[in-house]
Amino acid sequence: MAHNWDFATILQNWPVLWVGIKGTVFIFVITVVLGLGGGLIVGVARYSKSPFVSWPARAFVEVFRNTPVLVQIIWFYYAFPILTGIETDPFLAAVLGISLNTMAFSAEIYRAGIQSISRAQWEAGKAIGMSYNQTLRRIILPVAVKRVLPALTNRGIEVFKMSTLASVVGYVETLNQAKLISDLNFNPIESYTAVAVIFFVVLYPVVQGTYVLERMLRKGD
Amino acid sequence: MSEILRIENLHKSFGDLEVLKGIDLTVQSGETVVLLGSSGSGKSTMLRCLNFMETPTEGKIHLNGELIGTERGGRMRYREAELCALRARIGMVFQHFNLFPHMTVLENVMEGQVIVLGRAKPEAQDKAMAQLDRVGLAEKATEYPARLSGGQKQRVAIARALAMDPEVMLFDEVTSALDPELVGEVLKTIRQLAEDGMTMLCVTHELGFAYHVANRVLFLHEGTILEQGEPQSILKAPATDRMSEFLEGHSLFKLPD
């Protein structure tokens, strides 16, 4: 029971961990932008009246929401190159898996947001002579996106946590580096505790921020 | 007649806001007391203090001669178990009925008997049916509350309280949430209770009810009892300007000459 906590080895290996943290931030930024950005396109497509647009969007959403993201990453790493001849390195496989998964989830968030806007708003747009696209872009989306901001932030938090899965295919991020430090110094307790604390310290304020955001939006509505 | 409820120097504050500023009242067994007052006068808070839905900040409450709580260090202390036992002896009916939607009417009326009083189910069921019959809803026993009208819901709520064999009944604006045409059936039920000799305290805006059913009317203003007396005199000839204004505000009610 009496374990001697010794975080000195972690501090000594800080440069190793730092490489991982940079890797985490890098993949997070790319996947969150692609995922939440692409999700908007899929979400709007999913809402389209044309079945040729809405059905592929729906199929995409169903496939990526109903399979585990780790399966997606591994599929892109091992199976995708055989199918397409395109080589994927750990980074690309992880980016594809996490981004597409996030696109599917955020598409549903955007769609719910668009659906929550009353018909009267569409009619008001039409009445002043706007086209469907103009109404969508200028009237509906600004309100819808604002409304789903808390849900999107939560998705962003999930993406940040998901980035650790990239380590499974060998991408160099925080958890991967912690494992390396742990293997070299035989200090799994300190290594993994350090990673957990890093994530907690980053995400806890963000989570508290979403609570504030939710309260503000509720008041504003 | 014997004393059933005695309140001494009742105070209640919410934070800095003092809602009750020293209420003294003695209620005799079988009496019907109506509490009047504009909103914010403290009448509902006073009622809710009597069965400790709100804990009084200061003051003493005696039920049937026994003091509720124990005095220690100049303050009253209340144990949760004691308060639960007390609430089982005092019936309360609310503005919004507060029936349990996941239980049938019969189960609603049996719940307290079985869980709180520990009555056997057959006995509780007989008792429940008797009380439902009393409020005229025996045939609705197997329905869920969602299927009842507001007036019916409120009568079930009354039966639920009565099934506990309460020593006192508290009615907190029980007709305020009802459509006008449903008010009558509920008031009739309460009037019947009064005639059966139940001790009751009612917060209401129904001046006609107060006039015809109450033995005594209290007029609360800013946390104190400003006036009290028999309804026939106090409603016709209020002593204070405050109460006159209040009665004029309820001009829908025409007092009989």
């Binding site: 496939v63 109903n66 399979t67 399966v71 199918l83 806890y204 | 609430r87």
Partner: protein, 224 residues
């Protein structure tokens, strides 16, 4: 390139064994995670400051740290700390029970808070204790409202169990890795495994949507 599923189908029982283990981990994590979540929610709602503070910290900590980090911690670090023999199964069940309990706690809390204050008053007025109120009046209603969120979280849990493959527990994902190496057919293996997960999860979510519709029809609100 050519698809060839024969090699995969020959060893299909390996995958089925993995699927069974996936369901086993999910089931066990639910078995422990749900009651633990209820306990955390009730603690967090408690007026006793220290208790609600601790429960709040546990919930937030396990919601804001990645499940894979938690799994590694329980598998590699905990055995040193308290000197227990840790198997992949135990590590997985412990991790996912606690991790999902943090999420279930928030669902429970939302459900309980969504119940009208009048229900508490109605129960209190007939002399019920806090425990009786909670057990007989509040929770039965709250749980009904929580069902959709509860099922959604269970599906998330099922997906998250794929992580146990990284500590060498023979779940469906792990078996897929084994089979891919054995047959040199990663494309077919991973595609089939993805399809198995898809069918399983798709059926679960369709079922959960159907239940949600029924609840909506019966006039019950739901919480997220």
């Amino acid at each position: 390139m050519e698809w060839n599923f024969l090699a995969v189908l020959r060893d299909f029982d390996l995958l089925m064994l993995g699927l069974l283990n996936t369901l086993k981990v999910t089931g066990l994590a639910l078995l422990f995670g749900v009651p633990l979540g209820l306990a955390l929610a009730l603690s967090r709602l408690s007026t006793f400051r220290i208790l609600s503070g601790i429960a709040g910290f546990i919930v937030e900590f396990f919601r804001t740290t990645p499940p894979l980090v938690q799994l590694f911690w329980f598998f590699f670090a905990l055995p040193i700390l308290i000197d227990v023999r840790m198997t992949p199964l135990i590590a997985a069940v412990v991790t996912f029970s606690i991790q999902s309990s943090a999420f279930f706690a928030e669902i429970f809390r939302g459900g309980i808070l969504s119940i009208d204050k009048g229900q508490w008053e109605g129960a209190k007025a007939i002399g019920m204790t806090y425990g009786q109120c909670q057990r007989r009046i509040i929770l039965p209603q709250a749980i009904k409202r929580m069902i959709p969120a509860f099922m959604e979280r269970s599906i998330e849990l099922l997906k998250t169990t794929t992580l146990v493959s990284t500590v060498a527990y023979t779940d469906l994902m792990f078996q897929a890795n084994e089979l891919a190496q054995k047959t040199f057919r990663p494309l077919e293996v991973y595609t089939i495994v993805a399809a198995i997960y898809f069918v399983l999860i798709f059926l679960f979510s369709q079922f959960s949507i159907a239940v949600e519709h029924r609840l909506a029809k019966s006039g019950e609100g739901t919480v997220r």
